[in-house]
């Protein structure tokens, strides 16, 4: 046996005085070595005086991370803080500091539970730790002061009739030529161009621009339409109809659904699916209502290390279980590398699956980086669906 990698993390908690804990964390692995020191107030779990140190790091810029650690000063380390640590310490400083900080926060919470129990035992010697925590379900720990963005109200409404676009027939006229099909990634945008994959806030918690802002931007850059594909979210047909009227722009609905085999974009399927659904089951339900399933960014993160490093060939990729269940493959996605899109293109071609493109934009700056161009004008979700099924479309670089 030969060890390829090892990461050790060590966290110590001492009680500095009546009100304060002192936390010391070390992360030491084959690549990095870093340390964190800070204080935590026992009564409210608020942290302060965060100091970090690097002993080993990678890029010449890593040392800059230390200056951003102080952004976590004042965080209340109650349960549910992990996401905020990822978003601040992880994004602004370094994900490895965030990883250690999360361990330290856990250690601080556990220690506070222990201390509160020890206090309680002084009055009630027979009180076990477990009973104490059950009685006081949070072990004397304050509730989280950080709330994640509130999920918007979801109103799944089955669509009863095709939604007719209010859009006048502006935009690019459709051109059908011989090179139309199977010509991925060519940087032109003739035809009727729709960004089939984008996210809006607050429907997708990870997005940051509103639906109005996204539509305005799509219009400004000359797209012919967009398809709202928020995560596990069903837009109400009425809301979308109003948006279309308000902006005089084609707005359609999709849904990006998490399955055990990754994210799937579904078109023409308006069931509100929550949690993880098995891809086979999703396919069954989508097929039952005549919808269309597209594997979103199927190789996202596969090739971070270069295809050679993991030995993923087109043939092996084509054999993946997921491709047995999908109707199409997103071969141009704005959030993955050129190599990852390239592999998706080869797979789509090899399996003769419809190829689509979408920006996967989460804010206005990336709307329309990639899109899908259709041979004919699309005016409704039904028209979109039949164009996808007939394969009368191809992905394009748009912006």
């Amino acid at each position: 046996m030969m060890l390829e990698f090892m990461r050790n993390k060590l966290v110590d908690v001492a009680r500095l005085n009546e009100d304060t804990l002192s936390i010391h964390g070390v992360l030491d692995d084959s690549i990095y070595n870093l340390e964190l020191d800070f204080k935590v107030n026992i009564n409210d779990l608020v942290c302060s005086a965060i100091e970090g140190r690097w002993l080993r790091w990678t890029t010449p810029q890593c040392p800059q991370a230390l200056t951003f650690l102080k952004e976590a000063d004042g965080f209340c380390l109650s349960e549910g803080i992990d996401n905020k640590i990822h978003k601040t310490v992880g994004r602004r400083a370094c994900r490895h500091f965030a990883n250690l900080f999360i361990e330290c926060a856990y250690a601080a919470r556990e220690t506070v539970k222990l201390l509160h129990w020890q206090e309680a035992v002084e009055n009630e010697p027979s009180l076990s730790f477990k009973d104490f925590l059950e009685k006081d379900s949070v072990g004397g720990i304050p509730a989280a002061d950080v709330m994640e963005p509130v999920e918007p109200v979801k109103k799944p409404e089955p669509i009863t009739s095709p939604v007719v676009s209010e859009k006048s027939s502006g935009g690019v006229s459709s051109v059908a030529d011989a090179s139309f099909i199977g010509n991925d990634g060519k940087s032109d945008s003739t035809g009727f161009v729709i960004d089939l994959h984008l996210h809006t806030s607050p429907a997708s918690p990870c997005a940051s621009s509103s639906v109005d802002a996204m539509i305005k931007e799509a219009k400004r850059i000359g797209l012919d339409g967009i398809c709202l594909s928020d995560h596990n979210y069903v837009w109400s047909p009425d809301v979308v109809r109003d948006l279309r009227k308000k902006h005089d722009f084609l707005v359609l609905r999709a849904n990006e659904i998490v399955t055990e085999q990754g994210d799937m974009l579904v078109y023409g399927f308006y069931e509100d699916v929550q949690g993880i659904i098995k891809l086979a089951e999703l396919k069954k339900r989508v097929a039952a209502v005549g919808g269309f399933v597209v594997a979103a960014h199927p190789f996202r993160g596969f090739l971070t290390f270069g295809a050679d490093d993991v030995g993923l060939t087109t043939e092996k990729a084509m054999a993946r279980e997921m491709f047995k269940w999908v109707d199409g493959v997103e071969t141009l996605n704005g959030k993955v590398t050129a190599t990852e899109n390239g592999l998706a293109q080869n797979v789509a071609k090899g399996l003769a699956l419809t190829a689509t493109g979408g920006s996967d934009a989460h804010d206005i700056s990336t709307v329309g980086t990639y899109a899908t161009t259709f041979e004919h004008e699309i005016n409704s979700e039904e028209e979109l669906l039949s164009a996808l099924k007939e394969g009368k479309c191809r992905p394009v670089t748009f912006r």
């Binding site: 390829e4 990461r7 050790n8 810029q61 400083a93 370094c94 250690a107 556990e110 971070t304 993991v310």
Partner: protein, 171 residues
């Protein structure tokens, strides 16, 4: 007050070994004042699919996880990579007493990713100029790294080349 005596200590160790030509085994072990736990996964190349998993968890105050092995087996077949966390959580469940176990599965997966990262980083030159060029190229090839940490933040030296190219292309 004996403030030099620890109130709580924890030690988490994740190690990755190659068990054969196409399989990595990643083990995460945790020992802290209240917990003793271990999770091990086996991941098959090239698509980094989880093909085996096992584990145990003992905890001072949390209830025992009744069907622990069954819960763990649910992640068989998923792929180590971006987006895996919400899949792992969704499949294993989000019960309070499972949180630690879910986190340890995630740590095993990170171990696998870091093992592959290490192989790439071994190719980085030792001199400053060489390093600079190496990491500038890395962020260009992996756009997901852009603006995701201090090292590759917007407007910083390592992303200057990438930003110049993007600006030129998109203006």
């Amino acid at each position: 007050m004996s403030n030099n005596i620890l109130k709580f200590s924890m030690n988490r160790s994740t190690s990755v070994e190659k068990i054969n030509a196409t399989c990595l085994r990643s083990v995460c072990r945790l020992q802290d004042s209240f917990t003793d736990a271990e999770v091990a996964i086996e991941v098959k190349m090239p698509d980094l699919e989880i093909v085996a998993i096992s584990g145990h968890l003992q905890h001072v105050y949390n209830d025992e996880v009744k069907n622990l092995d069954e819960r763990l087996q649910k992640v068989i077949g998923i792929r180590v990579g971006s987006g895996m966390l919400k899949i792992i959580k969704g499949l294993m469940g989000e019960d309070k007493n499972l949180e630690q176990l879910v986190y340890m599965v995630e740590e095993c997966c990170h171990g696998v990713i870091l093992t592959l990262t290490k192989k790439v980083l071994l190719k980085a030159p030792d001199d400053e100029a060489g390093k600079f060029a190496f990491y500038s190229k890395m962020v260009k090839k992996n756009i997901r790294l852009y603006d995701r940490c201090a090292g590759f933040a917007k407007g910083t030296p390592l992303v200057a080349e990438l930003e110049a190219e993007e600006g030129g292309e998109k203006a």
